[in-house]
């Protein structure tokens, strides 16, 4: 939901743009805090009211596949595939349903199928599809191949959805998968490799979906098994003891999911293809030296039993983003622009010192802070946030 003309009520925006005489269009810029993480600073530029339709959720679906420089990694070693199957199956039952994202040449797919699992392969690259389909035929119907990009399910912009971008509704309807209630668990598992270039954005999208119970999470507490870079993995696991890596995503992740690091592999275990299916020479040494982690994210069953629900999760998101924009500041300073409730009173309730800094707060503390404000006695106004300021991510 994109609000037209950033930060301006339409009336005044209008008057500013059509005003007579002495001035015309001023462009509205964004604030910038000094100690924003470098990673967050990348997209920081100014907002141009005229061009707004293009920012925000950005790529309309029709444009997504214009950019062909995307590099994808695939598992090509049968031995690695074996190991992964063992890890995934564990002691669980062998005939479960597994959603494999971008299987590529299908090495892991084959191993999974051989272990007895049912597999749905969501492949976003058309070149691999015939190969996968023939694999399915050989192994007798336990494989379904769909031309679909898992990481771009349910785009937020409401452009036309053309494959490989799909809505989860059509996808699961076609596959005949029924939603399970939150407490029941998940109808399938997901395994895949996070797209290298947009790792962080994809993670944000995943947590948005998780907290709002939309997209795949509408179908239950889906367990994700994802390969991500070691760096990003460390960030997800960070807490005040590793302040340099600690960020809003860490809090979101640790509050929402149980995290297990299942395996760690050097980058060289994978093969990199450009999207045309060509084998890519590994040029970037720093990438080559990086390790990949396989992590398992299982949403907590009791995530929504408190006051944090899909109804108000966006306030929680907003709170975290604001706090981590100026992470070395005192929490009390942030509270002033978050809630009109007396900040010291809140701190007392969550049993924190008034000098506590943002990076000293553990994920649980943030959760507790949110719940405290949400439960506070004051009726009229708990948060200064409203939908007008809705966060826009991705």
């Amino acid at each position: 939901m994109w609000v037209p003309v950033a930060g301006l009520p339409p009336l005044l925006a209008l008057s500013a743009l059509t005003r007579g005489g002495r001035f015309c269009i001023l462009r509205f810029g964004a604030a910038r805090r000094k100690d924003v993480l470098a990673g967050n600073r990348r997209g920081l530029s100014d907002i141009h009211p005229q061009l707004l339709s293009n920012v925000g959720f950005g790529k309309s679906s029709s444009r997504v596949y214009r950019c062909r420089s995307e590099i994808k990694r695939y598992i090509t070693s049968p031995r690695l595939a074996e190991t992964l199957v063992q890890i995934l199956q564990g002691k669980g039952d062998a005939s479960q349903l597994i959603l494999e994202c971008n299987p590529g040449p299908g090495i892991l797919t084959q191993a999974l199928l051989e272990s007895g699992a049912k597999v749905i392969a969501l492949e976003s690259d058309k070149t691999f599809i015939p190969q996968l389909e023939s694999l399915g035929k050989n192994l007798g119907g336990k494989l379904e191949v769909v031309y679909c990009d898992f990481f771009k399910l349910d785009p937020r912009s409401r452009g036309i959805v053309t494959p490989p971008v799909m809505t989860s509704e059509t996808l699961f309807q076609n596959l005949g998968i029924e939603a399970l209630s939150w407490s029941k668990g998940s109808p399938f598992k997901v395994i895949g490799i996070l797209p290298t270039k947009s790792e962080r954005n994809t993670l944000w999208k995943i947590f948005h979906d998780l907290y709002s119970c939309t997209s795949i999470y509408k179908y239950g507490r889906i367990e994700l098994n994802l390969f991500i870079t070691e760096k990003e993995c460390q960030k997800l696991l960070a807490n005040p003891r590793t302040p340099n890596l600690y960020q809003a995503l860490s809090v979101l992740c640790q509050i929402a999911c149980g995290i297990k690091v299942l395996n760690k592999l050097p980058w060289s275990s994978f093969e990199t293809y450009t999207t045309n299916g060509q084998l890519e020479k590994q040029k970037h040494r720093e990438l080559v030296e990086q390790n990949m982690c396989l992590i398992q994210l299982t949403p907590h069953r009791d995530l929504f039993t408190g006051n944090l629900t899909p109804f108000n999760y966006d306030v929680f998101f907003h709170m975290l983003r604001q706090c981590f924009m100026k992470r070395n500041a005192k929490l009390v300073d942030h509270l002033h622009s978050l809630s009109p409730i007396d900040a010291l009173h809140i701190l007392k309730q969550i049993k924190k010192n008034k000098n506590v800094k943002v990076i000293d707060m553990y994920p649980q503390d943030f959760h507790c802070l949110f719940e405290t404000i949400e439960c506070s006695e004051e009726d009229t106004c708990k948060w200064l946030y409203d939908d007008f300021m809705e966060d826009v991510i991705l």
């Binding site: 500013a16 007579g20 015309c24 709002s212 939309t214 306030v315 907003h318 009726d379 200064l384 826009v392």
Partner: protein, 1231 residues
């Protein structure tokens, strides 16, 4: 080494050029007994310095060291004295005399010989005198203001030589008067130019930032002068000068400004200090500097010889004495003093007479007839109001503008004042009283802290905060608070708005103080004689000509503050507001503690990785405002139409509102380039634009009361979105309790998925509610203004955008708005319908319904006759009858037209019926009309009605038909998409794309448009959307190519030229056929950041000329902008000729309005002028201009781009064979 040698040679050359018998009256030679003969001891020119190096380097060092010691000894008294004087800047006392500071705990003074020693001796003898002088100075200073005492006066010079000179002069001041020293100083050659050049190239990278800082600094000095803080300005100048890093920020303009300030006060000593700094900075004084010096001499009544010396030096610097009086803008008094000084030296001198106001004539061939004295008869229209009435209206408008704001009764339905309402109003009133005091205090504290910052040498906001009284600032802030929307306002926007308001108020106040208001009043009354209905003037002429003949002295126009200053000031004020305004916590939570809580909160919103600061009122405050239901709206005086005829435009910055500054050309905020271009234009060249704007603004309007009644009835009731009347918030799908009480969202028995669904529903509702609310607020503004202006006559002053398209200045209520807004307006001046007026009314009505677009005029009129019953019914019972009007394309205008027709037909003699109703004539796809005429495309011209024809042609249908032809061919050849598309190609599918092609839509954008249309077709197989839209957009472009071959090649030529021009590093510029210079303000974004305070603000501007042009925008923008500059030229020509014929004429770009009786005349003028315009060799003129502008520069022409550019520019596209004269006979060209 070579540099040194060169220096010597050059110096030698310089000496050789000096007149032989040049008198050398040298201050220190007198003071020190003339030791050293003609060789000046402290050197004035580089050559002598060099020579000294040769012969006396060692000795010099020795002497200097000794002098240091000596000064240290004597300095005890001085330094202590100075500590008192410069208490706040202790470093300054040491900085003042660098010689002193460079300490030497060296041995005792060795025995010295030569003239240096003698000089030292001499100085020791002067010690006593100096002490006395210092003590005297101290006493004098103590009498000055307390804080001024801490300001620095003496500069610290970076050049040691100059510093010595200065010091000695200071010491010798008792005997040698300051002005002599100045004369000496004048002879100093600027010496650091080369060094500066090197530095300049080094800092090239940070040019933009530097330029921004300079602007801010200059603006600071100017503001200091305005508010009488000259010593402060001087202090900041000195502080900056003494730090080499900051010195590069200083420009000659700043030194000149401070000097001029001192000259006005007649403070010669400070002036000389500044002059020292000018020299020290290596700048060459210009006319302004000399004007200041001479003016000061005039004030102090200096003797002739000094003045003469000064004049002489001026001549040597290559500056003309006459120039002082012609090229320097001077006030009356300044001029007199300057003349007095000059007369001392040259008693016979008389300043050149001011250039006679020669009525310069515009020479454009297009305008020859407009300005012809003879030939066709002139019958300029007059207003229908008598002089007395107009004078009265002027007084009303003047009062409004002096008050700077207008309070208007809201048209929202009045609530009966219940207990609750009264209580809320009382609470609010009490709170406001407290806030006033709090704001007052906070402002004073801010002012004090800014003053401290200035005293530390920073160009702070202090002088700006002195521009208005605290009371006015408080009023402004409270007004801002009142108008803050419930969901908050971006801090940047708020800050900019506040800054602008302060600027406007300041300008109005200055005009008031400088007695300009009285002068304006006298002239305006005389001006009204031209317009009033009951006056006679000797010669009929245009309003601008009349105004110029009245000889109103042109007020020096105020340079607007740089955007960064505006925003900085605004942010400071916003911070004051946030800090000061508080309310009891009990308002928010009745049970809560009794402490005070802030009313405004600074919160953030995130847009992806961008963060936007927002000021948001506490919900309790919003509730209080709602509860109090105060029924007033406050507008700035410039947001409201004028109550008297606007001032005629006489220059790019004077016209329109009486006092509030208005620019003739608006552009992206912060851009100066177009203003510079306009100012550089010979005045006569702009006459066409000035007169056209004046004429559009001179149209008197009134509110259509009956329509307003009906609209208000709907508005205060339930609204009617279908008719463009927004519904009240009560109609909005309001979420039961909103986010603030998400109890419903917390129900434990709901599953997370249900809650997610609830959230989505809530968000949907909130969005709808918010949109409704903003529409409602917009309509409330417009209708309240309409209600306010009911029963009045008002005017809409006009200005134009950077391409020459005209717009009314008041934003909320004007004829450019929606159907509803247009229906509320009619001409204040009536005209009898005449024999054909009624027919035109009927045709206009049918046009408004949009029903008979493809029928002839005759058929449209007959259609109206058939419907007469419905029309009369609509007019009589608009809300209760058959409501035929509601089905029209433009319902409200149709209704107004129905009413007018009803009145006219029922009048005893319809031809004599006085009609106020504006009738429109629309160009059919005006952009393509201009392209077709430019390219002389026969097929295209026919399809956009440039050719006479019995029925109106429709270009969209034409294109659709052509696309269908292509499709059929492809389908036969087995192209699958073409087969799928069978039966789907219609006018509607292609319309938007064809329309926007003129405005530069690309294939990409065109495909999206077509995709949207196809999606709306229910039976279209959606899986082919992408393919089909892709195919169609290609065919549309091909069809256009087929029909408008000339057009496409012109478009390509323009685009390619713009691309190449942009690559050579310039922004595209051209001159419209009427002579308006146009420059495209598209540059790469430059960012300006304002740090500090509650939030750092960053804004980017694309108008920064120091940045490289943005090639993409330059190239995509050129074709549409060029066409717009043509259509605006056509409109202006039509306007001017209509005015000459006595018609009332206004326009909405390509839609021309006039009285029903005059439609035929206007149509004729419109066609004639179109033909005239396009008979000019427009493209060849453009090509010539571009070649001259961009290819003549020898420096640039070496590049590859330049030669390609020249080739492109010279190959002007060929045109077709269309005969332009046919347009004159085309009925449906504008219809």
């Amino acid at each position: 080494m070579s540099a040194l040698g060169w220096g010597r040679r050059a110096a030698g050359l310089g000496r050789a050029l000096w007149p032989a018998g040049r008198p050398r009256v040298l201050a220190e030679e007198e003071a020190f007994g003339g030791v050293g003969g003609h060789r000046r001891s402290s050197s004035a020119s580089p050559c002598e310095q060099d020579r000294r190096k040769d012969w006396g380097h060692a000795e010099l060092l020795e002497v200097l060291q000794a002098r240091v010691r000596q000064l240290q000894a004597e300095g005890v008294s001085e330094v202590t004295v100075k500590r008192v004087v410069v208490a706040r800047a202790p470093e300054a006392s040491s900085a003042q005399s660098p010689g002193k500071a460079r300490a030497g705990a060296e041995g005792a003074a060795p025995k010295l010989s030569g003239r240096w020693a003698q000089k030292l001796d001499k100085e020791q003898r002067l010690m006593q005198k100096r002490k006395q002088r210092l003590e005297g100075r101290l006493q004098k200073r103590e009498r000055t203001l307390a804080w001024q005492r801490q300001l620095r006066v003496e500069p610290r010079l970076l050049s040691g030589r100059l510093a010595n000179q200065l010091q000695r002069w200071e010491q010798g001041a008792a005997r040698s008067p300051w002005e002599e020293q100045l004369a000496r100083l004048l002879q100093e050659a600027p010496q650091r130019l080369s060094g500066d050049a090197a530095k300049a190239s080094a800092v090239r990278g940070s040019d933009v930032r530097l330029e921004g800082q300079r602007q801010r600094l200059l603006s600071f000095f100017e503001c200091c002068l305005l508010t009488g803080h000259l010593p402060l300005a001087h202090h900041v100048l000195v502080t900056h000068h003494s730090r080499s890093r900051q010195q590069r920020l200083l420009t000659l303009a700043m030194y000149n400004m401070v000097m001029r300030g001192w000259a006005r006060e007649g403070s010669f000593k400070e002036l000389v200090y500044v002059f020292f700094m000018v020299k020290d900075a290596g700048l060459a004084p210009d006319l302004l500097s000399y004007a200041a010096v001479l003016q000061c001499m005039g004030r102090l009544d200096q003797d002739a010889s000094t003045v003469r010396r000064c004049l002489k030096q001026m001549a040597q610097d290559g500056l003309q004495l006459q120039g002082l009086f012609t090229a320097v803008p001077l006030g009356e008094g300044e001029r007199a003093e300057l003349l007095r000084a000059v007369r001392k030296a040259e008693p016979t001198f008389s300043p050149p007479p001011p250039p006679p106001p020669t009525p310069q004539l515009n020479t454009s061939p297009l305008l020859r007839e407009v300005y012809a004295k003879q030939g066709c008869p002139v019958s300029y229209p007059r207003l229908h109001l008598p002089l007395k009435k107009l004078q009265d209206l002027f007084q009303q408008q003047l009062r409004v503008e002096l008050a700077t704001t207008v309070t208007v009764q809201s048209v929202e339905k009045a609530q009966p004042p219940t207990e609750e309402v009264l209580h809320a109003r009382k609470t609010l009133a009490d709170l406001r009283a407290t806030w006033e005091t709090a704001l007052y205090q906070e402002l004073q504290e801010t002012k004090a802290s800014e003053a401290r910052a200035a005293r530390e040498g920073r160009p702070s906001l202090f002088p700006y905060l002195c521009l208005l009284s605290e009371r006015e600032f408080v009023g402004l802030l409270l007004q801002t608070l009142q108008a803050l929307p419930a969901q908050g306002e971006s801090l940047l926007f708020l800050a900019h708005e506040l800054g602008l308001r302060v600027f406007n108020r300041h300008i109005v106040q200055r005009k008031q103080l400088s007695k300009q208001v009285q002068v304006l009043e006298q002239h305006y009354i005389k001006y009204l004689h031209l317009l009033a209905s009951d006056t006679q003037v000797a010669e009929r002429c245009l309003p601008r000509q009349w105004w110029e003949a009245l000889g109103m002295p042109e007020a020096p126009h105020e340079q607007p503050w740089p955007v960064s200053v505006l925003v900085q000031l605004g942010k400071q004020l916003a911070e004051v507001l946030v800090q000061a305004v508080q309310m009891p916590g009990s308002l928010a939570a009745p049970r809560g503690p009794g402490s005070l809580i802030p009313v405004l909160y600074h919160v953030y919103s995130f847009r992806s990785f961008r963060q936007i600061g927002i000021l948001k009122p506490h919900p309790a405050f919003t509730q209080l405002l709602e509860a109090a239901a105060e029924r007033t709206l406050t507008f700035e005086s410039t947001e409201v139409p004028m109550l008297c005829p606007p001032l005629p435009w006489t220059s790019p910055h004077s016209g329109a509102f009486l006092l509030s500054p208005t620019k003739m050309m608006r552009s992206v905020e912060g851009t100066q380039q177009h203003q510079l271009l306009l100012e550089r234009c010979p005045p006569a060249q702009l006459h066409g634009a000035l007169d056209a704007l004046t004429q559009l603004g001179n149209c008197a309007w009134r509110v259509n009361g009956r329509v307003l009644d009906l609209v208000l009835e709907l508005f205060t009731d339930k609204g009617c979105p279908r008719l463009g009347v927004p519904a009240p918030p009560s109609e909005a799908p309001r979420p039961p309790q909103g986010r603030q009480t998400p109890k419903s969202g917390l129900l434990p028995d709901l599953s997370p998925a249900d809650k997610a669904e609830m959230r989505r529903e809530l968000a949907r509702r909130l969005k709808v509610a918010r949109e409704m609310q903003s529409l409602r607020a917009d309509a409330l503004c417009r209708l309240s203004l309409a209600q306010h202006l009911r029963h009045r006559v008002f005017w809409l002053p006009h200005n134009m955008d950077f391409r020459g398209r005209t717009y009314p200045c008041p934003p909320h209520f004007n004829h450019l708005g929606s159907d509803l807004a247009r229906a509320l307006l009619e001409f204040a001046q009536g005209r009898p319908l005449g024999p054909h007026g009624l027919d035109w009314l009927k045709i206009h009505l049918v046009n408004l319904t949009g029903l008979k677009k493809r029928e002839s005029l005759q058929a449209r009129r007959d259609f109206a006759d058939q419907l007469m019953e419905d029309i009369l019914d609509s007019a009589d019972q608009p809300m209760t009858g058959r409501r035929w009007w509601m089905e029209a394309d433009e319902p409200w205008q149709a209704l107004a037209c129905c009413m007018e027709i009803a009145r006219a037909t029922r009048a005893p003699d319809p031809a004599a019926y006085i009609s106020h109703f504006p009738v429109h004539q629309d160009g059919s796809c005006n952009g393509l009309q201009h392209y077709a005429a430019l390219g002389r495309d026969s097929v295209g011209a026919a399809s956009v009605n440039l050719l006479p024809s019995d029925l109106p042609q429709d270009v969209y249908s034409g294109v659709a038909a052509q696309v269908e032809v292509f499709r059929r061919q492809d389908a036969e050849q087995g192209v699958h998409v073409a087969q799928v598309l069978e039966g789907f190609i219609s006018r509607k599918v292609v319309k938007q794309t064809v329309m926007t092609v003129v405005y530069g839509v690309t294939r990409y954008g065109g495909r999206l448009q077509i995709e949207k249309r196809l999606r709306e077709l229910h039976n279209f197989p959606q899986e082919f959307l992408w393919e089909a839209s892709h195919y169609l957009v290609r065919q549309v472009f091909n069809s256009l190519q087929e029909m408008f071959s000339g057009t496409r090649s012109i478009q390509r030529w323009l685009t390619e030229s713009a691309r190449l021009i942009s690559h050579t590093g310039s922004a595209v510029e051209w001159v419209t056929p009427l002579g308006i210079p146009v420059i495209q303000p598209y540059h790469r974004d430059s960012k300006v950041m304002i740090k500090g305070g509650i939030q750092s603000l960053t804004f980017s501007s694309s108008g920064d000329t120091s940045q490289k042009p943005n090639t993409l925008k330059q190239k995509n923008g050129f074709p549409p902008n060029f066409i717009h500059s043509l259509d605006s030229s056509h409109m202006m020509l039509t306007a001017l000729h209509c005015y000459r014929k006595g018609l009332t004429f206004v326009s909405v770009h390509d839609c021309f309005w006039t009285h029903a009786a005059d439609v035929a005349v206007m149509n004729q003028v419109c066609r004639e002028q179109f033909v005239r315009l396009h008979s000019q060799p427009i493209l060849h003129d453009l090509s010539r201009f571009l070649v001259k502008r961009f290819c003549s520069d020898s420096r640039v022409s070496k590049s590859v781009w330049a030669s390609r550019l020249l080739d492109t520019l010279l190959s002007v596209p060929k045109t077709g064979a269309f005969d332009l004269e046919q347009v004159k006979r085309s009925t449906y060209f504008f219809s």
